[in-house]
């Protein structure tokens, strides 16, 4: 079948193979390690390259038509985050904190996913709308802000209820709760917006837009041609880190494991369907879907440890990096590509059979 072949072909690309290699290196306890300075630099480089690429594309194709996809992405991202919470809290019986932390980890987006997706499309000779890089930047803090807001609301409510049941109707405490929420939210908001990922991404989009193809020429070799090679090096390190965490996977449990596979697939497929419906191209729909399918494992810990310290990082980091990320780049990405190809080829298909077929 087409999808399986695509998955298999994708499995045999340097990006995936070096990721798997990194996992193995960590499992056999090799001392292999990409030096810190390099693995801190690579995400900056990758985001700059993504941004420049996006900005140049936006200059070529205009960005008037960017608003609808942007708002659709925001809406879906918030909806999905709330949906995750319900599933985790009701079905998964996770506590409030873990539920919100996980909900936003999977509602948020991942830049590494995005890099791998771009490189996959490049390999397939398919282009995508440049403004999706801008959507990446906007979605980055969104799910966290929602989750932190909801968590703090819930905590304030709990406090209020406790007070009431003790007959102590001092609404000051609620105010304190609300104020804390405000402080936390404004801090997270500020840190997100000035966070290096968003800053370099937005900056590069703007610069790419200004310089265009021609201005890009002298730096093309570094910021375009070396892109896939740089991802490969980064994937070794991602593999090593994922491999070191594999031992924690038993803590994740069967429910969360299933969640970590099914939810990205679901979100991604919805993303492709919706984005195709609003007119995105074959490649654009893949990137849109991948964004929604992605989970955050670099930004999430930094934000959530501060904002929802009660949640267990071993849950959200391990599931996002150890399960969802490999699953997404190996299975979801080619799946979304196949789906989008079919949708854009105009064939009529029985979507339900198609999707479940692709999953099994």
């Amino acid at each position: 079948m087409d999808i399986l072949q695509l998955i298999q072909a994708n499995l045999l690309t340097p990006i995936i193979l070096f990721f798997l290699f990194g996992i193995i290196a960590a499992r056999i306890k090799s001392d292999l390690k990409i030096p810190d300075a390099i693995s801190e630099f690579l995400p900056i480089y990758l985001l700059a390259a993504i941004g420049l690429h996006g900005g140049i594309e936006m200059r070529n194709t205009g960005f008037e038509n960017m608003l609808v996809p942007m708002f659709v992405a925001i809406g879906l991202s918030l909806l999905f985050t709330l949906n995750h919470y319900q599933i985790l809290r009701r079905l998964g019986k996770f506590n409030l904190f873990d539920s919100y932390a996980l909900a936003s980890t999977y509602g948020a987006v991942g830049a590494v996913h995005f890099s791998v997706g771009l490189s996959f499309l490049k390999n397939q000779g398919v282009s995508s709308e440049g403004y999706i890089a801008a959507i990446l930047a906007v979605l980055e803090p969104l799910a966290f802000i929602l989750a932190i807001f909801m968590t703090n609301m819930a905590v304030s409510k709990q406090i209020r209820e406790k007070k009431k049941s003790f007959g102590d109707d001092d609404s000051n405490d609620l105010d304190v709760g609300l104020n804390q929420t405000k402080t936390k939210l404004s801090k997270v908001l500020h840190e997100s917006i000035t966070g290096k990922a968003i800053v370099i991404l937005l900056g590069s989009i703007v610069i790419g837009y200004i310089i265009g193809e021609e201005g890009f020429e002298p730096i093309k070799i570094v910021f375009d041609e070396m892109f896939t090679g740089a991802i490969v090096i980064f994937m070794i390190e991602m593999g090593i880190i994922a491999g070191q965490r594999l031992g924690d996977i038993k803590k994740v449990g069967i429910f969360l494991t299933a969640f970590a596979v099914l939810i990205p697939t679901f979100n991604g497929v919805i993303g492709v369907l919706v984005s195709t419906a609003i007119g995105l191209s074959l490649g654009g729909a893949v990137m849109f879907g991948l964004l929604l399918a992605s989970a955050s494992f670099i930004a999430a810990p930094a934000v959530l440890r501060q904002a929802i310290p009660q949640a267990k990082p071993s849950l959200y980091i391990t599931s996002a990096l150890g399960i969802t990320f490999p699953y997404n780049i190996i299975v979801t990405l080619p799946l979304l590509f196949a789906l989008s190809s079919i949708l854009h080829s105009g064939e009529t298909i029985d979507l339900f059979n198609f999707i479940t077929g692709g999953l099994i």
Binding site: I241, R245, P301, A302, R305, Q306, P309
Partner: protein, 100 residues
């Protein structure tokens, strides 16, 4: 060359707690400190592999005994529960006690 007795407070904690610690110092009107990244192992497991956020940082603060109590109390109350952290105090001698 008389040496004056002051205290050295050393805090080894995960990088994500660093900002909180520095804020507590600031609140207590302590601006001087020295810090550097370290690896380590403790109750919360091996730290220093993986992502930068999973490293430790060591913060050293020379201060007068008067302020020690408050700072240590606030750090232990607000940070001990949520972060990998170890803290200790030693006696040192400095030349210019008015600096601290």
């Amino acid at each position: 060359m008389k040496l004056y007795n002051v205290k050295l407070l050393t805090i080894t904690c995960e990088i994500l707690a660093q900002e909180n610690i520095l804020e507590i110092l600031k609140k207590n009107e302590i601006t001087g400190y020295t810090k550097y990244e370290v690896d380590g192992n403790g109750a919360r497991g091996l730290r220093g592999q993986g992502f930068k956020n999973e490293k430790n940082v060591k913060i050293e603060v020379i201060m007068r005994e008067e302020k020690l109590q408050d700072v240590v109390e606030e750090i232990s109350r607000t940070q001990f529960a949520n972060f990998a952290i170890v803290l200790y105090v030693s006696d040192i001698g400095v030349l210019r006690p008015e600096k601290f």
